[in-house]
């Protein structure tokens, strides 16, 4: 079996300094990790417990995985970083065995934005009262979620809430313009509410990335990743998974419209017969068949500004609309390397037999290596449907 990537795994301290090399190393057993779209991705690093290496792990130290997709020194890149958020220690005893293991478990730096709460806006410079009753802002989605992070953990009005190792990328004025609000919910949940789990609602994605001395919250509009589709406008070398290229097998394609909501009703505020009702429909889907109308109700009583409702319902029509599932097993070949020809977030092309071709996005990647440097890479792809105009 071909071996593609070379790896180095380090333990980092709170300032991002390398304090120990775990792999290659005598007490290293394995590490698994995952990249998830707009969410923290988990890792688990297993070591032999008898050595002192495990004792160097302090709360919130970090794991860094460096990977080289080729053999040249310039091909190294940072594949993954994750915060040490727990220990797991276990023993294996039998007549033949007397072994002792230890594992670090944790999450990628997106975990950081799950720490603070989105608190109401501080009434800074005004002695009348300290806080409003909610956090609220309007603007482009990527700027607004940066404001959420900025006011919750990077430069908060209450300096006790400051994460000193956390930075914030400058505003870009991209994504969807709207109003966004929340109060006393986790910052990560507020960001998810603002841009959607897929990033489609806000027209952007976010990541928390390692920088010198700490981490930085960054946004990417219209998406995080590289466009490697056939005919991509950036002129990148296309990555095409197909039988012909020998890098795909067992493709599977499903479409399900059994629960496809084509008429969405937003139930705003008001009791009984005074409740305000908003309606949005999927006109194209309704026109497909005389039996297409499936109605869905959405409780939007907590929305303070009704002009947000149509956008929320439009997103509901997508989320609860036609479900299309495309899966395939992909072969990493010399001509199609992970880390060079495709990575987490990228847009790629999937060619199915019969001439059908799909724009796909790599929305999750999980990887694993063991002490023998044997790697396993798995990915999840979804159809790419986001409007790309920033």
């Amino acid at each position: 079996m071909a071996q593609f990537g070379q790896y180095r795994v380090y333990l980092l301290d709170w300032n991002g300094n390398k304090v120990a090399q775990l792999f290659p190393g005598d007490d290293f057993l394995s590490i698994t990790w995952e990249h998830r779209r707009n969410q923290p991705g988990a890792y688990r690093c297993e070591l032999v417990a008898e050595t002192a290496t495990k004792d160097r792990f302090l709360k919130h130290y970090q794991i860094l995985i460096e990977r080289n997709w080729g053999n040249a020194p310039g091909d190294w890149y940072e594949e993954y970083a994750g915060f040490h958020l727990g220990n797991h220690e276990w023993w294996v005893n039998s007549d033949e065995l007397d072994e002792h293991y230890w594992a670090s478990i944790g999450l990628s730096p997106e975990w950081l934005v799950d720490q603070p709460l989105l608190q109401p806006v501080a009434n800074t410079g005004n002695a009348n009262w300290a806080y409003y009753d909610l956090w609220w802002a309007s603007g482009f989605a990527d700027d607004v979620i940066k404001s959420m992070v900025g006011e919750s953990m990077v430069s908060p009005a209450d300096t006790a809430r400051d994460f000193t190792q956390m930075g914030l990328q400058g505003d870009a004025g991209a994504g969807v313009w709207s109003c966004y609000e929340g109060s006393w919910i986790r910052l990560l949940d507020a960001i998810t509410d603002a841009i959607g789990e897929t990033g489609d609602k806000g027209g952007c994605d976010f990541r928390v990335e390692r920088v010198s001395g700490g981490y930085e919250f960054k946004t990417y509009a219209p998406f995080f990743g590289t466009d490697r589709r056939r005919g991509n406008p950036d002129g990148n070398k296309p990555t095409i998974f197909s039988f012909e290229n020998g890098n795909m097998r067992n493709p599977d394609y499903k479409e399900i419209w059994a629960e496809e909501v084509t008429a969405a009703y937003g139930l705003w505020q008001g009791g009984g017969m005074e409740r305000s009702i908003y309606e949005r429909t999927n006109a194209a889907a309704l026109a497909e068949s005389p039996y297409s109308r499936r109605e869905g109700a959405y409780d939007l009583r907590d929305i303070s500004q009704p002009d947000q409702i149509n956008g929320i319902l439009d997103q509901a029509l997508i989320d609860d609309g036609l479900q299309t599932f495309v899966t395939a097993e992909i072969l990493q070949t010399d001509a199609c390397l992970y880390g060079r020809d495709w990575w987490f977030g990228d847009l790629v092309t999937l060619d199915l037999p019969g001439g059908r071709s799909f724009d796909m996005r790599i929305v999750e990647v999980s990887g694993a290596i063991d002490g023998e440097n044997e790697e396993r890479i798995e990915g999840v792809i979804e159809l790419w449907t986001r409007t790309e105009a920033a």
Partner: protein
């Protein structure tokens, strides 16, 4: 090396959410959601009145609940808004660019006994009076360099002036948009103070603060 690809996860959580949404099809606590004021997303300068039963008629109106439709009104529209509690067709032109002025938004539509109970689809002209903080000035508006000063003036204002012309809906802090030549030039209205105009004390109605 074979790399397996999984499909999108099933919609279990989404289905649970859908059940909750269906169960929330009615809202029991009606009064909290009745007849409230909501800004719209900038750069709009409009306000939305969420319709419903109103149980707070002014002194000269019939003392029973009345139903108000939902309306959107652009507060920069001089046809809809007057800025004087005594005269209609008044507007206000700021003297100082980017300064603030506090006022109470008063709904005057529907309070004439002759028209009471009528519910036109759109808000009639001059349905809104912006009652400024200074009864001594002809147009009632008073400008301040800071939002805090404008809020202080609102806190000290006698709401009787607003009550006398209609139904006080909310307090507002209006901020000039830099144009000191034309009338009713204020920035868009936010839910909180983000450096533009904003609803004061959220959208609680003025009788609660009065």
């Amino acid at each position: 090396m074979a790399i397996s690809w999984g499909g999108m996860a099933g919609g279990q959580i989404r289905r649970l959410e859908q059940v909750q949404q269906q169960q929330a099809g009615t809202v029991q606590n009606a009064d909290n959601y009745q007849f409230t004021v909501h800004p719209t997303c900038p750069p709009s300068t409009s306000i939305v009145f969420r319709g419903g039963l109103c149980w707070y008629p002014p002194a000269f109106a019939p003392a029973h609940g009345w139903f108000v439709n939902s309306y959107a009104a652009d507060l920069a529209d001089t046809d809809i808004v007057t800025t004087n509690t005594s005269f209609i067709y008044y507007s206000y032109t700021f003297t100082n660019a980017y300064w603030y002025a506090g006022c109470v938004l008063v709904l005057t539509y529907g309070l004439n006994p002759d028209t009471f109970g009528l519910k036109p689809a759109t808000l009639p002209d001059l349905s809104i009076t912006l009652a400024g903080t200074n009864s001594g000035l002809a147009d009632g508006f008073e400008e301040y360099a800071t939002a805090a000063e404008a809020e202080d003036a609102l806190a000290a204002m006698s709401v009787e002036r607003a009550n006398s012309v209609g139904l006080p809906m909310t307090a507002l802090v209006l901020r000039n948009n830099g144009n000191t030549t034309d009338a009713n030039q204020w920035m868009s209205i936010d839910r909180v103070n983000r450096g533009r105009s904003y609803l004061l004390w959220d959208y609680r109605q003025a009788w609660e603060i009065g």
